[in-house]
C-alpha cells in the first residue's frame, strides 16, 4: 500500500519501509520519486483507456437529453422491433422505443445506482471499520461478527432477499446493493487501521495531544485511502452488475425507467427478430464494467509500493 503520510516524516504500511511517495518528505526514495502514482497511472495505457471509456460513458449519462436522438419513453408503434437503421441506430424495442436512446438514459440510472450504493456502502463501511479497528475490544468483535454474517451470503442472494422484502424499485435496489457492499469496505479499512495503529507517526500524533476523532479522521484514514480507492472502482463495477442482475430478474428498476438489465431481459424474447436490442444492453453493461476494472487494475498497480520506481 502506498502511504502518503500526514504529520509524520516516517510512514509505511507495507512493512518494508521503502514506500514513501510524498514529494514533501525529505526521506523519500529517489527512484520512487521519479514516478509518482498519478504519473504511473497516466503511463498505463490500459488504465488510461479505462479512464477515457468511463468518462465517455459518464458524459453520455450527464448529457443524455442532448445526446440521445429520441425521448427514451417515446413510443413509435409502427416501428416496433426494427433492426438498426439510419433513423434508429440500434433499432427499436417491442413498443417501438429507440434502443440507443434508452441505453444512453439507462447509463444515467446504472451509474447513479452504482455511485450512490458504493458511496453509502463506503461511508458506512469506513466508519464501522475505523471504529472497530481503532477501539478494538467488544465493539470490534460485534461489528466484525455482524459483517461476517452479511458476508456469509452470496451478494446476489442477499440482494434478492432484501429486494423480496422491500419490493422492486430504484431506491430499494440502491439500498440492497449498498448493504451488500458494506462488509468489504469495513474489512479493508479495519485491516489497514490494525497495521497502522501501532506506527510511530500515529503514536507521535497521540502524544502530541490529538483526540481520538482527529487521529481517526486526519491521521489514520488518509493513510488507508489507496486500497479503498481501488475497492471503490471494483465495487462500483460490481454494484452495476448486481443492479443489472436484479433488474434482469424483474426485481430491480421498474418500467418505464430505462435500465440495462431489464432491456437485456426483454430483448431476449425477440432474439430471432432484433438481436441488437438485447445485445446492445449487454454490451453497455460490459463496457462500463470493463472501464472500471481497467481503471481499478491501473490504480492498484500505480498505488502498489512494490512497483514504485518502475516505468
Amino acid at each position: 500500500m502506498t502511504v502518503s503520510s500526514r504529520g509524520s516524516p516516517v510512514a509505511s504500511s507495507s512493512g518494508t519501509g521503502s514506500a514513501i511517495d510524498d514529494p514533501r518528505l525529505p526521506m523519500r526514495d529517489a527512484r520512487a520519486a521519479r514516478v509518482p502514482p498519478l504519473a504511473r497511472l497516466w503511463r498505463d495505457r490500459a488504465a488510461l483507456a479505462g479512464l477515457v471509456l468511463f468518462l465517455g460513458i459518464l458524459a453520455l449519462a450527464l448529457f443524455a437529453e442532448w445526446v440521445a436522438p429520441f425521448d427514451p419513453a417515446a413510443v413509435h408503434v409502427r416501428d416496433r422491433l426494427q433492426l438498426p437503421s439510419t433513423t434508429y441506430l440500434l433499432g427499436t424495442d417491442e413498443l417501438g422505443r429507440d434502443v440507443l436512446s434508452r441505453i444512453i438514459f439507462g447509463a444515467r440510472v446504472s451509474l447513479a445506482v452504482g455511485l450512490i450504493a458504493v458511496g453509502v456502502a463506503a461511508t458506512i463501511g469506513i466508519v464501522l471499520g475505523l471504529s472497530g479497528g481503532y477501539y478494538g475490544g467488544l465493539a470490534d468483535s460485534l461489528i466484525m461478527r455482524g459483517l461476517d454474517g452479511l458476508l456469509a451470503f452470496p451478494a446476489v442472494i442477499l440482494a434478492l432477499a432484501i429486494m423480496t422484502v422491500l419490493g422492486p424499485s430504484l431506491v430499494n435496489a440502491t439500498i440492497a446493493i449498498g448493504i451488500v457492499s458494506i462488509p468489504t469496505f469495513a474489512r479493508i479499512t479495519r485491516g489497514s487501521i490494525l497495521s497502522l495503529r501501532e506506527k510511530e507517526f500515529v503514536e507521535a500524533a497521540r502524544v502530541s495531544g490529538a483526540t481520538d476523532r482527529y487521529l481517526m479522521a486526519r491521521v489514520l484514514l488518509p493513510n488507508c485511502l489507496s486500497p479503498l480507492l481501488v475497492q471503490a472502482s471494483v465495487g462500483f463495477a460490481n454494484a452495476i452488475l448486481t443492479e443489472a442482475a436484479l433488474s434482469f430478474l424483474g426485481l430491480g428498476i421498474q418500467p418505464p425507467t430505462p435500465s440495462w438489465g431489464a432491456m437485456l431481459d426483454s430483448g431476449r424474447k425477440y432474439l430471432d427478430q432484433t438481436p441488437w436490442y438485447s445485445f446492445s444492453a449487454g454490451a453497455a453493461i460490459f463496457l462500463v464494467v470493463l472501464s472500471l476494472n481497467l481503471l481499478g487494475d491501473g490504480l492498484r498497480d500505480a498505488l502498489d509500493p512494490r512497483l514504485q520506481g518502475r516505468t
Binding site: F248, L249, P275, G282, N293
Partner: protein
C-alpha cells in the same frame, strides 16, 4: 491442525446464528402480514387472526425466532404456501440440478484455465500471452447473463445446435440432459475460467521470481521443466482455494443462469417463489444457500491449511 479445524468448526456456530438472525429479521419485516399474504387481501379478519395464532405470528419476535430456529435445527423450515410441500424437501429436490451446473461449470473452467494459464506463463510476453490476457479480461468483465444471451443467440437461434432452454432428467436421458446443460454450463465456465486464468498466470509469474526457482534455473533445468515441475506445484495450492471460493460464489451467480435457461435448480425455485410471494420457500432457500456457502468456505480454509505445510493457523 486438528486444533485449527476444531476452532474453525466452533466459529461456524456464531456465523450460522448470525445468518439465521439476518434471514428472520429480513423476512419478518416483509411489508404486510404473512397471514394476510397467504389468505389474500379480502380474507375474513377472524380467519387471519386464527392463522396468525397457528403460525405463531402473535408471539413476541424473540419467541418467534426461537421457535423458528428450533424447528430449523430439526430440519423443519416450514411449508410452501402454494403446494403445502415441506420447504426442505422442495429445496433438496432442486439441489441436484444446481450442483450439476456448478460442478460441470467448474470442471470445464479448469479444463480451459489450467492449460492456457500455464501456456501464458511459459510464453510470457508473446502473442499467445497477449491474446489469452485479452480473452481473460473480456471473460472477467462479461456479465454472465449477457454471455448466456449471446450463446442462445449464436448456438440456439442462429445455429440450432443446442436447446435454448429446458431440462431433462440426468437419470432418465443423460444425453438429452447434457444437451440442455451445454449452454448454461458454457456460460458458467467461461467467466470462471477467466478468473482462474488471471489468477494462475499472475501467481505463476510471482513464483518464478523466487529464489528456489532461480536455483532450479542455475542447476541447468529448462524453462518448461522449471515452470511445470517446480513453480506449478506451489501455485496450485492458492489456486485450489480460489476455485473453491468460486464454487461458493456460484451459488449466487447461478440464480440468473438458471432463470435464463429455465433450469429447475435452487436459484430458479427462489425466483419462482419470489414471483408467487411464497416467502417461506424463499426464506428457506436463502438460509440453506448461505449455510452451503459458509460450509464450502470452511472446507476450502481447512483444505488450504492441510495442503500447505507452511500454514498452521494460530
Amino acid at each position: 491442525m486438528s486444533g485449527y479445524i476444531l476452532r474453525r468448526v466452533l466459529h461456524l456456530g456464531p456465523v450460522l446464528l448470525f445468518i439465521s438472525v439476518i434471514v428472520l429479521f429480513v423476512f419478518r419485516i416483509i411489508p404486510g402480514d404473512a397471514a394476510v399474504i397467504r389468505l389474500g387481501d379480502n380474507a375474513d379478519p377472524e380467519a387471519v387472526t386464527a392463522l396468525r395464532r397457528t403460525l405463531g405470528l402473535d408471539k413476541p419476535l424473540p419467541l418467534q425466532y426461537l421457535d423458528w430456529l428450533g424447528n430449523a435445527v430439526r430440519g423443519d423450515l416450514g411449508q410452501s404456501y402454494i403446494n403445502k410441500q415441506s420447504v426442505l424437501s422442495l429445496v433438496l429436490e432442486k439441489l441436484p440440478a444446481t450442483l450439476e451446473l456448478a460442478l460441470l461449470g467448474v470442471a470445464l473452467a479448469l479444463a480451459i484455465s489450467l492449460p492456457i494459464g500455464i501456456l501464458t506463463a511459459l510464453h510470457r510476453g508473446t502473442w499467445i500471452d497477449q491474446l489469452a490476457r485479452v480473452l481473460a479480461l473480456v471473460g472477467f468483465c462479461m456479465p454472465r447473463y449477457w454471455l448466456a444471451v449471446l450463446l442462445i443467440l449464436l448456438l440456439a437461434v442462429r445455429v440450432p445446435w443446442f436447446p435454448a432452454a429446458g431440462f431433462a432428467d440426468l437419470t432418465e436421458d443423460p444425453l438429452l440432459n447434457l444437451r440442455h446443460a451445454a449452454l448454461p454450463v458454457l456460460s458458467v465456465a467461461f467467466t470462471l475460467a477467466a478468473v482462474q486464468m488471471r489468477f494462475l498466470r499472475s501467481s505463476l509469474l510471482d513464483v518464478i521470481g523466487q529464489d528456489y526457482v532461480r536455483t532450479a534455473y542455475a542447476k541447468g533445468l529448462r524453462h518448461r521443466a522449471v515452470v511445470l515441475r517446480h513453480a506449478l506445484k506451489n501455485t496450485l495450492i492458492p489456486f485450489i482455494t480460489v476455485v473453491g471460493l468460486e464454487l461458493g460464489n456460484l451459488l449466487g451467480g447461478l440464480v440468473v443462469v438458471e432463470q435464463i435457461f429455465s433450469w429447475p435448480g435452487v436459484g430458479w425455485l427462489m425466483i419462482q417463489s419470489i414471483t408467487h410471494r411464497d416467502y417461506a420457500v424463499v426464506q428457506g432457500a436463502v438460509l440453506l444457500t448461505a449455510t452451503g456457502f459458509v460450509l464450502i468456505n470452511l472446507v476450502v480454509d481447512v483444505a488450504y491449511a492441510y495442503l500447505d505445510p507452511r500454514i498452521r493457523y494460530t
